[in-house]
């Protein structure tokens, strides 16, 4: 586990990390030349059938082909994708945090604050010197006087201004503490992302050594016994790797997954989609077209499976209902009817949710449906029925679009919503982007309901645990969008609504999100007190809340600072409220908020 202190991070030689990563890439190229020598100069050259023809010659040629193939795979899978890419990516990630660290530490020192505590719980507090300047000498620094709106005493005998300072001591103290809090959040976010990048990189390298495929056996007494087993395992190897990736055992980043996917042959990719769609479908880093194909297959199977289970329970209940002694107690089958009914209800809810989702994204011919307004296909990037259900659906292909907007919904988001109201809202966003984009541009709009959303406003939506659980997946999603993009990277925006903003804030501050913009709509708080802590640049942080939205009453201590506050440091844009008599928390994409809809589309389309 990463235990870097802020000083360790500041002193880290990221260029050296990148340089060694590049050395590994160079090494891979040089080694590939060696394997090519074996293929060209030996198998097809000196040791070709023209020069050596016999059963043994065939055996030797096959052996060289086998271990050369293994080495080539190793070079790609381990030396390149795992080691080299990990080092280069870690260097980039750590260097970005290092740059921010330098900035915030400079500000901390400039303001006479100090950093205390350990690497994962840093605190930023006023130094003793600053305390004395305020409390003892009644001579706070100019920046603090400006911030608190107090005149700075011009000299030790400036009694009037000193009296003003005395009268505003609490205000000065609070103002200093507020800034300390912001720098503390910023510093903690930097260190959290740096630790995350460090741990992720270490995990990939550790996982690499866990279950590597075996090398071909050497010629020798046991060769004949071993070679057939080796060939058998070879044929299953790609599937095993895909399984390890899908289960998270490989710990590879979406970019590494994408490199691995691209290293496969067309036949291997097609076989994986056909034989193991359940692994291909949900994996970030695999191109969206392939995921969509795989997920639709799995969705179909899952609905069929649920139908079977529902029919089975209905049959059991019918049997039990025929037995007057079975009601409310264990019947002949040993099943409790109440438990069966509860299970049946859950299964039906899952089945109905998935069927509704399938209906929404499929046309009458069973092909992927197209959103008529923008002529963009729906892509199913992920789905699930765990807890409230998950669905990640794109309108338009994020891999090819110039702009990608991912909408993260909030409390009560579930599968039925994903097939209904939430998708309606996503379509409205897609439509708004389409209205505003320049000719030749395309915006893919994604409903990212890839997390278990709170079911209730109180108490669930007042807790950060749902956002914490979602953070890693949202980070992975953004990295996946980057990894599979064809051509230039898209302009990627994350748009959160309500608790969805908390999800984005938590992910950005703790794991890091690879996004260009974040938009907070009707936010109850984004877990940090400053836009700087989000890692996307405060100029790319936007927030809006209409004046009648009760969400503005959410206290900061619950989910963090309201990003609409000026002190937060992001940009805000106006949203009109709807009727005075309605709850205006969910009216941001309604007919009453044209200004807000235009502003959001403007951000999304760059």
């Amino acid at each position: 586990m990463s235990d870097m202190s802020w000083k360790d991070l500041r002193g880290l030689d990221c260029a050296a990390v990148r340089d060694v990563g590049e050395q590994w890439k160079h090494y891979v190229a040089k080694m590939a030349e060696q394997s090519e020598r074996l293929r060209t100069d030996v198998i097809d050259g000196h040791l070709s059938a023209d020069n050596y023809e016999s059963d043994t010659a065939d055996l030797v040629r096959e052996q060289i082909d086998l271990f050369t193939g293994r080495f080539e795979d190793d070079l790609s899978d381990y030396a390149d994708i795992r080691v080299a890419t990990t080092l280069v990516d870690a260097a980039d990630a750590l260097e970005a945090e290092q740059k921010e660290l330098t900035e915030v530490v400079g500000l901390i020192e400039e303001h006479d604050f100090e950093i205390e505590g350990g690497p994962r719980e840093y605190e930023v507090n006023p130094t003793g010197h600053l305390h004395r300047a305020i409390w003892l000498h009644l001579d706070p620094p100019q920046w603090l006087c400006d911030r608190a709106g107090v005149d700075k005493p011009s000299a030790w005998y400036d009694v009037l201004d000193q009296a003003e300072v005395l009268a505003h001591l609490t205000c000065l103290y609070d103002s200093a503490n507020e800034l300390c809090g912001q720098y503390q959040d910023w510093l903690r976010a930097i260190m959290s992302r740096a630790h995350d990048a460090d741990d992720d990189a270490a995990a990939v390298l550790a996982a690499m050594r866990e279950h590597p495929p075996e090398l071909p056996p050497q010629f020798g007494a046991t060769y004949d016994d071993l070679i057939d087993d080796y060939k058998d395992r070879l044929s299953e190897e790609v599937a095993s790797e895909m399984e390890a990736i899908a289960n998270g055992e490989s710990d590879m980043s979406p970019e590494q997954v994408n490199e691995w996917w691209e290293s496969l042959s067309d036949a291997e990719r097609e076989a994986l989609i056909a034989e193991h769609p359940e692994w291909v479908g949900p994996t970030d880093g695999i191109p969206v077209e392939a995921r969509d194909t795989a997920n639709r297959e799995v969705l179909d199977d899952r609905i069929g499976d649920l139908d079977t289970r529902i029919a089975s329970i209905e049959a059991q209940l019918a049997t039990l209902n025929g037995d007057p002694n079975a009601a409310g107690m264990y019947g002949q089958s040993g099943a409790d009817p109440d438990e069966l009914r509860a299970e049946l209800e859950e299964l039906r809810a899952d089945r109905d949710g998935l069927a509704a989702l399938q209906d929404r994204i499929t046309d009458d011919n069973g092909d992927p449906a197209v959103y008529g307004q923008t002529d963009q296909q729906y892509y199913l990037m992920d789905f699930g029925t765990e807890d409230s259900g998950q669905a990640v659906v794109a309108i338009g292909n994020p891999d090819t679009a110039e702009n990608v907007n991912a909408y993260v919904p909030g409390t009560t988001a579930d599968l039925q919503g994903a097939a209904g109201g939430l998708m309606n809202r996503t379509e409205t966003m897609a439509y708004d982007a389409w209205r505003r984009e320049d000719a030749g541009e395309e915006t893919a709009t994604v409903l990212w309901m890839g997390y278990d959303a709170p079911d209730t406003i109180f108490p669930e939506a007042t807790q950060t645990k749902w956002a914490e659980d979602a953070a890693d997946d949202l980070e992975s999603f953004t990295q996946g969008v980057r990894a599979t993009a064809e051509g230039d990277p898209s302009n990627l925006t994350l748009t959160g609504h309500s608790y969805g903003t908390t999800v984005i804030g938590e992910a950005a501050a703790t794991e890091g999100v690879d996004a260009d913009n974040v938009v907070f709509v009707a936010s109850p708080g984004v877990t940090v007190s400053t836009a700087d802590a989000l890692g996307v640049g405060d100029e790319h942080v936007y927030a809006t809340t209409n004046s009648l939205d009760p969400i503005a009453l959410t206290p900061d201590f619950l989910l963090g600072e309201n990003p609409n506050e000026e002190a937060f440091g992001g940009s805000t844009f106006h949203s009109d409220h709807g009727s005075w008599f309605t709850n205006n928390h969910s009216t941001y994409w309604d007919e009453t908020n044209m200004a807000g809809r235009n502003s959001m589309a403007e951000i999304v389309t760059g």
């Binding site: 586990m1 990390v17 030996v42 040791l47 050596y52 016999s54 080691v83 090398l215 060769y223």
Partner: protein, 124 residues
């Protein structure tokens, strides 16, 4: 050259194959060694900075050098030696089973190799 299944064998060409296998073996070992050294140095620096990447990188580099690149290099050498024996002796390779080869390899290696008079494959 005689032999039940040997239809064609150009000893000179087979020797060139052997030389190439040995050369690849030594190239891979040399370049991997250099890379592992540079990586180890970086890994130590990262470890000193309390980065989790440091120890993981050191172990990964060692694993790569010893087991993966090292394994490949070993296979190059092993196959080169096997071929060398065939070419040197012009044996009937199909009658020359693995066990025979193992016992033979205990007594002689390809001329010019470090272990030309000793078995480098004690498990044979």
């Amino acid at each position: 050259m005689s032999g039940a299944d040997v239809f064609t064998m150009d000893p000179g060409e087979v020797h060139k194959s052997v030389e190439t296998l040995f050369d690849v073996e030594s190239e891979v070992e040399a370049q991997t060694g250099t890379l592992a050294e540079a990586t180890g140095s970086l890994a130590q620096g990262l470890t000193d900075s309390s980065a989790a990447l440091g120890p993981a990188l050191a172990e990964a580099a060692d694993w790569w050098k010893t087991l993966r690149a090292g394994g490949f290099a070993g296979l190059c050498g092993n196959t080169g030696e096997y071929l060398a024996v065939c070419a040197e002796e012009a044996v009937e390779v199909d009658d020359y089973n693995a066990g025979d080869f193992a016992s033979y390899a205990d007594h002689d290696r390809y001329p010019g190799r470090d272990n030309e008079h000793a078995s480098a494959r004690p498990d044979w």
